[in-house]
């Protein structure tokens, strides 16, 4: 469990970094928090020629939250994002989900953008980004582009990012009025990747009747899965029976089995957790609108 030899650079500017990656063509690999990459190297599952460590690039260490949403730079650590009050008030789903990412020590080092780029279908933040309809901005020597979440996740551990690109920002839309979010997951041990996790975004009208209910799933498909469950709960209030959401989710998901869970158990969890988060998000939405 020792990595094969690699070269290593630690550029101080983004320009330098993208220049280096361009030179290396596909032999370069970005090193952010290292919480996923280093185990992969140690297990010799990948052997990049050259690691480009971005930890010294000060301009990437940003967290900002404004009326339109939350923007996270590439060095925003899970722990810092989780504790940021402006992030919390702008989009409470972000800290709610981050609390379920790994253990505190790993959140201290791992970056939120890194976990999005890593594109693990069991990752919390890819599902959150997908559910909220966020995006990733990437920079390379070729220029700058913004990729929507819907187009970003291509497969397990596979994103739309080119080998020469550095993801510099993740954008999460702000929580709209009369909307609410919730997150829940079941994992075998605290801090483990979830057996199944669900994030919900629910909007209500002035009568607090549900107008939209969407859910994002992790560990259910090979990329983050977003389902529109509105038809099951349209016009209902948070105090009503919303279990039709879970029933619909059970019909729509096609999970696989693995050593931790049968496919049917996962499907059932998707339903159980959908009910829980849709109800909780509807409650939050009902409590959030003006006139309360």
């Amino acid at each position: 469990m020792k990595p094969p030899a690699f070269d290593y650079s630690r550029p101080e500017t983004l320009e330098e970094a993208v220049g280096l990656l361009a030179e290396l063509s596909s032999g370069g690999k970005v090193l952010a928090g290292g919480q996923s990459l280093l185990p992969i190297l140690s297990m010799r599952l990948a052997a990049p020629e050259h690691l480009v460590d971005i930890n010294r690039i000060a301009e990437l260490d940003t967290i900002s939250a404004g009326p339109d949403g939350v923007r996270l730079g590439a060095l925003a650590r899970h722990a810092a994002v989780e504790r940021d009050p402006a992030v919390r008030s702008t989009q409470p789903l972000i800290p709610a989900a981050l609390r379920q990412v790994a253990h505190p020590t790993i959140r201290n080092r791992g970056t939120t953008l890194g976990s999005i780029v890593h594109a693990d279908p069991s990752g919390e933040m890819p599902a959150v980004l997908a559910l909220l309809g966020g995006s990733v901005t990437a920079v390379s020597a070729r220029g700058r582009r913004t990729i929507s979440a819907a187009e970003f996740f291509l497969g397990p551990l596979e994103s739309a990012l080119g080998p020469d690109e550095i993801a510099v920002e993740a954008y999460f839309p702000a929580l709209a009025v009369r909307s609410g979010t919730a997150f829940a997951e079941v994992s075998r041990r605290h801090g483990d990747y979830a057996v199944c996790g669900v994030a919900a975004l629910v909007s209500v009208d002035q009568e607090r009747r549900i107008t939209s209910a969407r859910a994002g799933y992790l560990s259910i498909a090979s990329t983050p899965l977003v389902l529109d469950l509105t038809e099951a709960v349209l016009g209902r209030r948070c105090a009503d029976d919303l279990s039709a959401a879970g029933r619909l989710a059970r019909q729509l998901v096609e999970p696989d089995a693995d050593i931790h869970a049968s496919a049917d158990y996962r499907r059932d969890l998707a339903g159980v957790l959908s009910d829980r988060v849709i109800t909780e998000a509807a409650r939050a939405a009902a409590g959030s609108g003006p006139g309360d």
Partner: protein, 802 residues
């Protein structure tokens, strides 16, 4: 009890903790920073013939020093590794070679080793060695092993390594004649010791003196020493084995020699360099040892009151690819399954079967968790069948205190009769019932059920043979500074031996704990020893050290009596001073006694002048009497007639989520009897750790082999060792102290107790919560979910039947 006895039984803080908790521990990988490193090329296949090994691609890796394959071995090194514990019922004992010869039998088996300037380069080279294989069909799991469509070893028919039967009375006839009968099928899956520190070896060969010094992360320094000497053709006296701090063992490190424990010294001698091997986590999963997998069929006959009239158990034990540790695990299951009960007739039969998976050797509990699971599930089934309280059925079958010593008429794992020396099972059960609130449970459960909650209470009892022989020794020496040096040959893996053994010596000698230093597992200090396993260290070395301290004390009093011109019987030792009872001021320091015990020609300091030739001695007698020795020391051995039996009972209250099938632990209660408590705090720590491993084995850990014999969860990401967040926050403990009559301090072992009833007690509680019987452990939420559906479907089917 002697005057000044103050340490034994006190919950003093462990003296080793400040060092370990502040990063002062020295584990194997902390040593030998100058050493070159060894990496192992391991089989990627579960069963294959090796056609060719081509090392040419690795030769030009920079920093490469050597590559060894089987063809490079000769003499005893080329022989199969030893079958450590032979047994007459082993019909086909197979052990592996240090490096695979012609065939591999599990994923992870060592094929070649590479030595390079560092581990990185060694792995680079290992990766470039090309092995051609002819794949053979793998045998994975007990069902496949039993069916024996395929064979692990060509010449071992039916995959059967051993077949063993023991019986007392005619169980079959008793069952046939019994008013009630039940049959159960019960299974337990594989798990493993999984110490935080894996295996590791460092060796230095001294070319000048032609001596070998080896440090290894082991549970038996003397065993490794003997094995290395035998394999490398060295005299025992030319090999020293030292155990540094060891980060846990739990059984896996009693196996020896591991291939690396032989290969590292071999390479060190050949290369004239210090060589080190530090096992990584993946290697530990696929190339050390596992345990636990067994299938059991139980037949039981009982009367209307639930008395066991006949018990017949057949089981199949998965011993993995080889059998280095013999039949210890299944023999323990077959005998310790009986727990505190006395069936009128008992028959047990097992087969130990080969599979193409990692070898199986004792893991904390060592066959008892499976046996207790089988027995306790049976007890719950009898209670359910008769509608009798679960605790009551157990109590009716208990061996009573007045029946001790109780002879089961069977042979135990040490080859000696299974005779319980002590224990008060009814008292233990009473304490547990009081602790958990057994009698209030039905009301609590009814109330919880009414509000839609599923809660369950489980109970499990066990008896544990501890402190197996053959012997351990202790050495106690008083230095001229008054400090006391204690050594024993067995090793420590974090149990707190430095503290517990010092407590014993402090009381025997009347000195302060802070003046005592304890060294374990260093063959330079104590060359005769067996090892640390089977909850034996306190019983064996504790007893030996007590006897050694008594010998030292006798000599202290004899020398001091001369000096003080008093009778030895009139002396006492208090706070490091030997004094005449009732004569204040008439005293001599222990250090001075040590000076006087060693007649000197040369004074090396002020104090030693007292022992020089013109100062002491009767000119008409030799300075050292014929039957005496210079120095103030005592050495003794403890070798018991047979094991001493500890016991305990656990109860757990769980809540199962009606939707997600997750299992939450609400309370965990333990009543434990290990005889005299040397240090209650250490015993409770052992129980906490054991319970954590019990929780692990019940709810989390398993070895997920696929059909091709690949271990799919060979990392802590997927092998679910519980975190602190999965272990009960509070473990409620009560003790009983029925002394063992077999040793000087009345001790019974405590090391394994916590883990033993884990699977049984959780199965009992989950069954109670769910209303159906759990028959296979461990159990995951996914499996509980599937069981619920199955039982709901069965119930629905029954409902529709006319």
């Amino acid at each position: 009890m002697q005057v000044g006895s103050s340490y034994l039984g006190e919950p003093i803080a462990r003296v080793e903790d400040p060092r370990l908790l502040t990063g002062g521990g020295r584990y194997l990988d902390d040593l030998g920073q100058d050493a070159v490193e060894l990496a192992v090329l391991r089989s990627p296949h579960a069963h294959a013939r090796i056609l060719d090994i081509d090392v040419s691609g690795a030769i030009d890796v920079p920093g490469l020093l050597a590559i060894y394959t089987y063809d490079d071995l000769s003499g005893p090194l080329a022989e199969p590794l030893p079958l450590l514990i032979p047994h007459p019922s082993i019909s086909a004992g197979r052990t592996q070679y240090v490096l695979a010869k012609d065939e591999v039998n599990y994923v992870g088996e060592a094929i070649a080793v590479v030595v390079a300037e560092n581990r990185y380069l060694a792995e680079d080279a290992a990766e470039r060695i090309e092995v051609s294989y002819e794949l053979l069909p793998p045998v994975v799991g007990l069902v496949a092993a039993r069916e024996a469509q395929q064979l692990v070893h060509r010449d071992v028919e039916g995959n059967v390594a051993a077949h063993f039967v023991q019986q007392v009375g005619d169980a079959a006839a008793a069952i046939a004649a019994a008013p009630h009968r039940l049959s159960l099928e019960l299974s337990v899956e594989r798990s493993a010791s999984t110490p935080l520190e894996g295996r590791g070896v460092l060796a230095r060969w001294d070319t000048d003196s032609q001596r070998l010094r080896v440090w290894t992360s082991t549970q038996t320094a003397t065993g490794v020493r003997a094995a290395i000497a035998a394999r490398l053709g060295l005299d025992l006296g030319s090999v020293e084995v030292i155990t540094p701090d060891v980060g846990g063992g739990f059984g896996v490190k009693i196996v020896h020699p591991w291939p690396e424990e032989v290969l590292v010294p071999m390479a060190a001698r050949a290369l004239g360099r210090a060589v080190k091997f530090t096992e990584d986590r993946r290697e530990h999963f696929i190339s050390s040892a596992h345990e636990r997998a067994q299938l059991h069929e139980v037949e039981v006959g009982f009367d209307d009151e639930g008395h066991l009239l006949g018990l017949s158990v057949r089981f199949w034990h998965d011993n993995g690819a080889y059998l280095p540790y013999g039949l210890i695990v299944p023999i323990i299951t077959s005998t310790q399954l009986l727990g505190p009960y006395k069936p009128a007739a008992y028959r047990v039969e097992f087969e130990s079967l080969y599979t193409n998976t990692v070898i199986v050797t004792p893991y904390r509990g060592a066959g008892r968790p499976q046996g207790v699971f089988a027995m306790e599930r049976t007890m719950d089934a009898i209670a359910a069948e008769l509608g009798i309280d679960r605790a009551e059925v157990r109590a009716r079958n208990f061996i009573q205190p007045e029946e001790m010593p109780y002879d089961h008429g069977l042979i135990f794992q040490d080859g000696r009769p299974l005779v319980y020396d002590s224990g008060d099972f009814p008292a233990t059960l009473d304490k547990l019932k009081a602790l958990v609130g057994w009698d209030e449970w039905p009301a609590y459960q009814a109330q919880a059920r009414a509000s839609g909650r599923k809660v369950g209470l489980g109970l499990a009892c066990y008896v544990e043979g501890t402190g197996v022989g053959p012997y351990e020794g202790g050495h106690v020496q008083i230095e001229t500074t008054g400090k006391v040096k204690v050594s024993t040959g067995l090793t420590s893996q974090g149990q707190g031996h430095q503290t517990a053994f010092a407590q014993i010596v402090a009381d025997e000698l009347g000195v302060a704990i802070s003046d005592i230093e304890v060294v374990t597992g260093d063959t330079r200090r104590f060359p005769y020893a067996v090892g640390t396993f089977a909850s034996r260290a306190a019983v064996m070395s504790g007893s030996a050290i007590a006897l050694a301290a008594r010998a030292a004390r006798a000599k202290i009093l004899r020398v001091a009596a001369d000096a003080l011109e008093a009778a030895a019987e009139d002396l006492e030792i208090v706070d490091g001073m030997v004094r005449v009872k009732g004569a204040p001021g008439n005293e001599i320091a222990l250090g001075t006694v040590a000076v006087l015990s060693n007649p000197l020609r040369y004074a090396f300091d002020e104090a030693s002048k007292a022992a020089t030739q013109f100062a002491v001695g009767d000119p008409d007698l030799p300075p050292v009497a014929e039957d005496d020795e210079p120095g103030l020391e005592g050495k003794d051995y403890y070798s018991p007639l047979r094991s001493t039996f500890a016991n305990g009972m656990h109860a757990v209250i769980v809540e199962t989520d009606p939707d997600t099938a997750e299992v939450a632990i609400l309370r965990y209660c333990v009543v434990h009897d290990c005889g005299t408590l040397i240090n209650p705090r250490i015993v409770e720590g052992q129980i906490h750790g054991g319970v954590a491993q019990g929780v692990a084995g019940a709810l989390y850990e398993r070895m997920a082999y696929d059909e091709s014999g690949q271990l799919q969860n060979a990392s802590f990401m997927d092998f679910l060792m519980p975190y602190v967040s999965e272990v009960p926050e509070r473990i409620e403990i009560d003790h009983l102290e029925t002394r063992s009559p077999l040793n000087p301090l009345g001790i019974k072992g405590a090391g394994e107790a916590g883990v033993i009833p884990g699977a049984a007690v959780f199965a009992s509680a989950i069954s109670d919560a769910e209303g159906f019987q759990i028959t296979a452990m461990p159990i995951s939420p996914s499996e509980l979910f599937e069981l619920r559906r199955q039982h709901a479907a069965n119930a629905a089917q029954k409902g529709t039947q006319p």
